[in-house]
Structures are given as structure tokens and as C-alpha cells.
Symmetry: C2
Subunit: 347 residues, 2 copies
Amino acid sequence: MIALASRRSDDTLLLPQPYLLFLGDTTEPGYAKTAFGLRDWAGDKCIGELALPAATVTAGLPRMTPAEAKARGARALVIGVANSGGVLSPTWHASLVDALEAGLDIVSGMHVRLAEVPGLAQRAARLGRRLIDIRTPPADIPIATGRKRSGKRLLTVGTDCALGKKYTALALARAFAEQGVDADFRATGQTGIMIAGEGVPMDAVVADFAAGAAEMLSPDAAPDHWDVVEGQGSLLHPSYAGVSLALLHGSQPDVFVVCDQPGRTEMLGTAGYGIPSAEEVIAATLLLGRRTNPAIRCGGLSYDTSRMSEADAFALMARDSERLGLPVADPIRGGAAFDRLVESCLG
Amino acid sequence: MIALASRRSDDTLLLPQPYLLFLGDTTEPGYAKTAFGLRDWAGDKCIGELALPAATVTAGLPRMTPAEAKARGARALVIGVANSGGVLSPTWHASLVDALEAGLDIVSGMHVRLAEVPGLAQRAARLGRRLIDIRTPPADIPIATGRKRSGKRLLTVGTDCALGKKYTALALARAFAEQGVDADFRATGQTGIMIAGEGVPMDAVVADFAAGAAEMLSPDAAPDHWDVVEGQGSLLHPSYAGVSLALLHGSQPDVFVVCDQPGRTEMLGTAGYGIPSAEEVIAATLLLGRRTNPAIRCGGLSYDTSRMSEADAFALMARDSERLGLPVADPIRGGAAFDRLVESCLG
């Protein structure tokens, strides 16, 4: 069971931090996105990394054994990598056992559950250690009520999947905090939950409870507190729009930021669906978001321009900002455009 | 596991019919809605009913023991009632065991699983009988792709929950068939699945797979075949809109019918949310439904006018039909208005 914001008072439900990052025998950097995300956004919670001899990928952290990590304060080994099958490779099993023996819990965001590793559950039980599967949602999610909650909320939404909704939410939450604004990043996916140390895996919640999960995720807060919620999918994605809408309704955001990747032409995993325009996403988000927050507004757009030259990226963002009448920024490139986006969101 | 339309060739996955309806010790007719629905819409699949002495509710079918029902061809005992706790009452257990001993499977739509009845799973295993929990979704639902499928589809949508979406879909499917149109009712809720003998419990599917479940539910079909899909929730319901949107995208309907209950002022289970107008529901359904079927159109409206006088009901439906430029009918009252609705849907 994963910790939820509303249960912060119960420390036992939070993920055990800091972490030792496990990189397995990974040679493909694309499979280590979780480890890189943890290094970049929760670096203060990462003591070191552990890899098998065959690994060529590194997060750039000190290499250490589970026992060394434990001695330096680590509380859990985190599976920071995937592989092509999305499974817990048999070559990793000895390292997982080592971690338990050293006194670390294990945290995994894989589809396969840790308890399916032969013998691991018994070993953990004997040692009093926990096996924490991030993809397992809490058992006690209520049906959403739509009740207006106190505090302010921002949700990142998308023209598609996998184009920077988590990154944008993390960057905005960090920028808010740097301006002295009381803000929390609220995680809705595996990597985000590992970074935040709590959250709810929206994609694993039973459909009837998805909006209720989003309501739990950002509970009542002080009037000037911001929850910056990691979005999922897209209202116009034929596979995942239901998740996106439940998250929109349950988050009842005051402000949303549209994430896009200029140049992408087809929605991920679909049969030839084009990417909707920013205008279409804004219109749909306003229409549907008004249901639980009549004051919802678009704060601006966040572009992933990593495949463009800097000159092209800034020229495009300036043009689109002019056309839409909204700030358009790439949080990785930052600059004045990103400052304007932050300012627009805070209102 | 519940049968899905796409696996019709595998007869073992369909619900075992005909049924013996179990009424328990129910004295509250409101708790016997499932039994009444089965009697009204699958009467040819109901051999008889079984009730405990304390029961005062009846579906009007011949009373018989499980052994008598088995002798007349019954294949399953169906739990046709609920109770205030939504549980399988201990007073029912002996009847469930009797059914297994008589050679019947047991079908339940309760939240509590049949296997949680002490000893029932072992008894069923020993006798080679099945315990079928309708709320357990299939394990192999794929992620939706948005691929356009052959055949025609109609989806009932709502201004709220529980105002006739199942009833309307059943009535339309029956009316289509009476006109010689090849049509199937596609069930998405517990009672509907019992009636159809197959379907998918949309509310129990994990959110990421909800649209995929809707795609499975209405597979490729002959060009002039109609799937009439039972809707769930409402795109504007703060608790369930995600389910509704996944069902809309996955069903890719050519036609939708908006279900409403005139006089209802507040959405079920919410904190003071008003019922949206038909115009709002039509606009949202067109905007979002176009994503997977650009040709989507509204066929008309279906009203539950059971709380109105006949004169008031027909006057209201005539006025609203004039205002909206669409047929408005109460399928229970039928008449020329319902004929116009059927005609409009078939296009």
C-alpha cells in the first residue's frame, strides 16, 4: 500500500527514504529513466547506487553495497530500472536478497509484484522487512464526492502521453517553492511516487474510484498552499482519457498547464490518431474542468523541445505564445519564458 | 471471469443459463431490482424462483427447489437480490450449498465474492461447479487502440447515474430487433450482464484498461449490425465521468441517446451538484465522442417519467422535443414518440 497525502500523519505509510538506487544489469539508458528521475528530483534522498557487473548505465552516484548504504542511512533499495520484459530479472534476485539481509526494504514500480520473486516474501517476513509495490493502489479509496476543498491546485495536462507532465509539475513545484510559495508535488505515477515518497498510482486504480483517488491525493490545505499535481494521459487520447478526466475532476484544479512535444505527429500507442491542437486540449479541459471548479483557467503551455535547436525552440514558443495569448516555456530550457509561465500560474 | 463478446466462440465463458432466481429473505422490493430486471428482459432464461420462508418479495415466477429447477433445465442459481449491507447473508448460505449439490453453478453480482462464504469454494470444487462473480473483470483486457471497428454502435449516456441507461438500451435493442435489425444489447453493469449472459463490469476494470474493455465489448461486426451499449455514469458526474469517457471512447458510437429523469435536481452521491442540461451533455458527448468516431450524432433523448402523470409526461416530452429538435420518449410509456426515437437512431 502506498502512502497517500491525506495520511501523512501515519509515517509508516510513507515510502522509506533515503534510497539505494538499483540499476540491475542495465545497458540501455532508456531503461534507467526512473533512476535518472530520482537523481534529478530527489537527489537528497539518494545515498548511492548498486549495479551488477554487466551494467553500463550509471546515475552518477557513489557505488555501494546494500550494507554500506544501510550504514550511511539508506532505508530502502529502489528498483530504478526496467528491462524489455518489464519483469524482475532472475539475475537481480541475489541483489534483492542482499538488500533485505542488510536491513533495507525494497520499493518497486514494476508490473510484476516483488512477492512473485521466489522466496523473497518469506525472506522479507523473516527479517521484518517490507516489499513495497508502487503499482498497488491503496485499498480504501472512497468514491469521489466533488466537494470543494480548500487550498490551491495546479494540474499538468497533455496533448498526449509521455511528453513532460511529470517533469513540468516537478519544475513548477520547485519554482513555486523558490518564490517562497508553500507547494507540494503530488505524484500520480510510479516514478513520481518514488520521488515524492508518496502518491497514488492513478493507472492502477479501479475506474469507479479514480476520481476519489485524485481527491485523496490533494486534501484540504491552507488557503495559499499549492498542490502541483502530476497529470496522466490526455482527455483526447483514445486509450487513457478516462484516467485523465477522473484526475481532472478529482483534482479540481484552479490552474492547468498544457504539456506538448512540438513535432510529434501521432498519439502514442494508437492507430493513427493525430496530436490534438493546444486549443482543442484547452477547450476540452475548460469545459470538463468547470464541473468541479468553475474558476479553472489555463496558466500556459509547457513544451518538450529537446529535439529542436535552441533558436528554433525559442522562436516557436514565442510564436505560439503570441497566438494563444499565454506563456509558452520549456522548463528544461528555463529562461524568462518559464518565469512568465510560473507567474501566470500563480495568478 | 465474465464472458466477453469477442470470445463468444468459447461457450464455456458465457454465463450458464437458464437461471433459477434466488430472492433470499428479502422483504424490500427495492432490493430485488436484479430479479425484476431478469424477469422483464430475460424471462425466457428464468426457469423459476427460490426464496426463504421470510421473503415477501416475488418475481412472479414458479417457486421451486434447486433440484426441481435443475430437472427443468436450469444451469445456475442467480443471486437476484441485495440487502442493506450488500453482503451474502449467512441466512442464504444453506440455499447456496443446496444449489451446488443440485448441480447448479452460482452467479453473483455482489461486491463480496462467493468464495468468501465459508466452505463454498471447497464445496463447489468438489462438485465441479462454478462460483461466478460478475464484478470480477476479465484478466486479459488490452489497452485501447482507438482502431475503427466495423458495424454500428449506439451508446446510452446520462445526465446522471441511475436514470434508465440500461433500460433504454434494452428497449432500443428490442425495438431494433422487432424491426428486423440485427442488434445485440451489450452489458456494462451487473444486472445487464446477467440479462445478456455476458458483458464487462466497467466499474470494476482498472482505469488504464477501461477504454480497452469497451473496445472488447463491441467487436467488429457486420456492416448493418448494431451493438446497443449500456451506458454508465455521466461525463459531467464528478465521481464517475472517467468511466463514462472511457466507455464513450471505447464504444466509438455512431449514435448516442441521452437519458434523463425530469424533476431530479441533484446528482446522486455528490455534494450539491445540479443535474446538467441535455444540451450540456449533448455538447460534451459530441466534443469527446468525435475523437474516436467523427460521425457521432445524438439520436434523441430517453426520459424516465415514472414520477409524472401521463399527461404531464407527454406534454413535457413534446415541448423538449420541439426545443431540442430531437425525439424525446419514455421507453416505458412507448407510443409514437418512442417510435420516432427508434427511427432517428437507425438513421
